[in-house]
């Protein structure tokens, strides 16, 4: 077999496996669990991830030595495409699989790898991300959560608050960026810690969102503890690890996301035909725009994946976040306009509910992971080389009215 034939054979294998397994009790998971629907069937979706693990379909890009399949980029693309085409549900374990796992493989100690990687591969241990704080959203260098070493027990003790923590209530562990050198500023003096959520010093409070559902949380640390073995990198090097982790958030996960978008656009077309709005010229033009935008997103991702493998962002890489989030927000509005007055009414039909979710939830897309405004600054400064924002030399004195 040549390479193309091998890839096609692999495509057939994935599609067949999905047909054989995404059925029976898992049937109801088709197309569920995407952004805005992340709290759908959590227990069953964890079972599904264990089903995937039994078929060796988790962490497929990881090296075989760590339980992955060591797939080529081309085969990973095929896997994500076929998974999503079959309606494979969103992964509750995606932060472990796409972010923490690769970070531990690159920077973890042998015992950290041995302790944490198998649970991610098996779909038995779930992770959430402790980066954002009320005062440190996109300005991650402003992290205030503190970690201090308790000399008597050798444990790190954590105090502070994280926010926008997706699926913390479904996770057992959180990776936390905290300040370990009192008085340090910016990206200096940070630590990257792996912290168990199930302990007295941790409180997870769900945040009720615009959708009415809760998948983000606030996480409060009040003397929470974790073993000294659970520091990734050296104390004080947290920034390096935190940034490296974000660097793994490239390309491949977008392929899967785009397949969800493709499905949503299919639902929009169906809704327009059923509501008769497919005859309205402006709706037709917007649907065409959505399709073309999706195509561009797909090609843009392939360009990124074809680019330098050294982790540096290429020009097209800089635009991805800004591009997809605006596209998706527009799709949400289009979805409800295509539904017409019916869009205001909730009925028990997921193909409609999904569009209502997209309308609402996509408002967060241009805020999370760097707001539109931050993204444009990044593009201007890093990709176009324009001058950096002027920052005040010292923190300004707070004034109260």
């Amino acid at each position: 077999m040549n390479l193309a034939e091998q890839d096609e054979a692999f495509r057939t294998e994935v599609a067949q496996w999905m047909r054989d397994h995404l059925r029976g009790k898992f049937e109801c998971l088709r197309h569920r669990g995407g952004a805005g629907d992340e709290d759908a069937f959590p227990a069953l979706r964890k079972e599904w991830e264990q089903e995937l693990a039994a078929g060796k379909w988790t962490c497929v890009g990881w090296p075989q030595a760590y339980g992955g399949r060591g797939l080529s980029v081309a085969q990973q693309i095929i896997f994500h495409e076929e998974y999503a085409r079959a309606g494979g549900p969103g992964h509750i374990g995606h932060l472990g699989e796409t972010l923490l796992g690769p970070t531990l493989i690159a920077y973890g100690t042998p015992s950290q790898k041995a302790r944490f990687l198998p649970g991610i591969v098996a779909g038995t241990e779930y992770w959430c991300q402790g980066y954002s704080e009320p005062g440190a959203g996109s300005d991650l260098a402003n992290v205030q959560t503190r970690a201090r070493l308790d000399q008597t027990t050798g444990e790190w003790v954590i105090d502070g608050q994280k926010v926008w923590t997706s699926l913390a209530h479904e996770s057992q562990w959180i990776f936390v960026v905290a300040r370990c050198e009192p008085g340090s500023q910016g990206h200096k003096g940070l630590i990257f810690l792996l912290v168990p959520l199930d302990q007295p010093g941790v409180e997870v409070r769900p945040i009720r969102q615009i959708t009415g559902s809760c998948e983000f949380n606030e996480v409060f640390f009040d003397g929470a503890r974790t073993s000294a073995e659970n520091v990734v990198g050296e104390p004080g090097e947290g920034w390096k690890i935190a940034m490296a982790l974000l660097g793994f958030e490239r390309g491949l996960s977008w392929i899967g996301m785009q397949m969800h978008f493709e499905h949503q656009l299919q639902l929009v077309c169906k809704a327009a035909r059923e509501a008769g709005t497919d005859k309205i010229p402006s709706i037709r033009a917007r649907i065409a725009d959505a399709w073309m935008g999706l195509k561009v997103m797909h090609y843009n991702t392939l360009r990124t994946l074809a680019g330098g493998q050294d982790g540096s962002l290429t020009r097209e890489g800089y635009i991805i976040k800004y591009y997809w989030s605006n596209w998706h927000r527009d799709l949400g509005k289009l979805a409800l306009d295509a539904l017409g007055p019916e869009g205001d009414i909730f009925i028990d039909d997921f193909s409609r509910t999904r569009l209502q979710q997209v309308f609402l939830f996509s408002r967060s897309d241009t805020i999370v992971a760097g707001t539109n405004e931050v993204q444009l600054n990044i593009i201007a400064e890093r990709a176009l080389g324009m001058p950096k924002e002027m920052r005040p030399q010292k923190p300004t004195t707070e004034t109260r009215v």
């Binding site: 890839d7 980029v73 081309a74 693309i77 495409e81 785009q258 978008f261 493709e262 656009l265 299919q266 077309c269 327009a272 035909r273 497919d278 010229p281 037709r284 033009a285 649907i287 065409a288 725009d289 399709w291 073309m292 935008g293 999706l294 195509k295 561009v296 997103m297 797909h298 090609y299 843009n300 392939l302 360009r303 994946l305 074809a306 680019g307 020009r315 097209e316 800089y318 635009i319 800004y322 591009y323 405004e373 993204q375 444009l376 600054n377 593009i379 201007a380 400064e381 990709a383 176009l384 080389g385 324009m386 001058p387 924002e389 002027m390």
Partner: protein, 388 residues
């Protein structure tokens, strides 16, 4: 499926891109474009000679058997991007993209063997006239008529928008013959053919009104007709649309580059204006549109070489051309805005790009036309939504 590996440019392709950029920096700088614009032909003959005869660009995608370099459509788009960037005034688009591609898709071996080597070598300039209106290539717009006469055909009718129609030596013209469409080759000096150049907005590319008043051609001038011509021209339309999109991409990139350079120099309120967030964000938006367009074109250009299905190719072209038209217009208008007062002057270049932006957006499908084509496919024909 087009895979990620297809999106890397090969070392040869990178070299073509870079050497074209350098050559055009020297040979199609602003002053030269302006001189060509003022000239009678609208293009710089020495630039054309260098591009066609010295560098062989005219043979880029023409098969070796017909005197060409036998490179792929991807290489052609890379060259066009650089030509668009410098608004290179030449008959390249009309001759190579429209003329040669039409012959490659529609002509028989004998005709190709006669005409393509002359185009590849740069001896022959060509263009295509389709309908009475526009450069949309809508079969319904064909109004010229051909009637059989002894030994050939007599052609009558008008073609209002023929790119470089007053300078091209060979005109490939579409007319109705017994109700179906037919493609004829007509020499510029044929009796009864007049080509009158329009006074047009985008002076970097001339448009002519070509009229046939009982032009008699011999029977070998009929190149192709009927369904096979329809199919061939649909494919040419898609390819020409993608090629034009590449030119637009280059022009949009240049709008951004010249704006970045200007904004770094121009001081207001004691600071270079590129330090203001309002200016930075507008430049970033330009880049977002440019890179999205570049991805659309990379995908579409590869599709040309990998996929025989013309209906899908037309959708690819619709996507690339719509993105490119809108990116160029946006970047050209932002270039004027961000150059401030001088952006509105004849002396500075943004207006040249602004005019090119508007004119080229109306060729091979305006964004409005192309969106409707996509909508028909998705909504009326209920083609499955797929981004691959």
């Amino acid at each position: 499926m087009i895979g990620a590996q297809d999106f890397s440019l090969t070392p040869d392709q990178l070299m073509i891109q870079e050497s074209a950029a350098q050559f055009l920096d020297d040979r199609s700088a602003s002053a030269m474009v302006r001189a060509a614009m003022e000239s009678a032909s609208g293009f710089d003959a020495s630039l054309w000679t260098a591009m066609s005869q010295d560098l062989g660009w005219t043979g880029t995608h023409i098969p070796e058997a017909y005197g060409g370099l036998d490179l792929s459509f991807v290489e052609l788009t890379l060259l066009l991007e650089q030509m668009g960037r410098r608004l290179a005034c030449s008959p390249f688009f009309a001759t190579v993209v429209m003329g040669a591609t039409t012959l490659m898709m529609a002509a028989d071996h004998e005709t190709k063997a006669r005409l393509l080597p002359q185009i590849a070598s740069g001896e022959l300039t060509a263009t295509v006239g389709f309908g009475a209106r526009g450069v949309d290539w809508d079969p319904a717009s064909v109004t010229a008529v051909a009637e059989p006469v002894e030994g050939g055909y007599r052609l009558s009718g008008g073609f209002r928008h023929v790119p470089d129609g007053s300078t091209a030596a060979l005109l490939l013209l579409v007319a109705r013959l017994h109700g179906e469409i037919a493609l004829f080759s007509v020499n510029a000096n044929a009796d009864g053919l007049t080509a009158r150049e329009h006074a047009n907005l985008d002076r970097t590319r001339r448009i002519a009104h070509v009229t046939l008043d009982g032009v008699v051609v011999d029977s070998t001038s009929l190149i192709c007709r009927g369904t096979s011509l329809n199919d061939a021209l649909a494919r040419v339309r898609a390819m020409a649309g993608i090629a034009l999109a590449s030119e637009q991409l280059g022009a949009a990139q240049q709008c951004l580059d010249m704006t970045l350079a200007y904004a770094a120099e121009r001081v207001q309120f004691g600071r270079p204006i590129n330090s203001f967030q309002a200016v930075k964000h507008r430049c970033a938006e330009m880049m977002v549109k440019i890179e999205a367009t570049r991805s659309a074109i990379y995908g579409a250009a590869r599709f040309v070489t990998t996929t025989p299905d013309t209906a899908s190719l037309l959708l690819e072209a619709a996507c690339a051309k719509t993105f490119a038209s809108e990116a160029l217009f946006f970047c050209a208008q932002e270039a004027i805005q961000l150059h401030g007062g001088v952006g509105f002057t004849w002396e500075y270049d943004p207006h040249l790009y602004f005019k090119r932006a508007q004119a080229s957006s109306q060729w091979f499908g305006s964004p409005g036309t192309l969106r409707e084509e996509v909508a028909i496919s998705l909504l009326d024909a209920a083609r499955p939504v797929s981004c691959q």
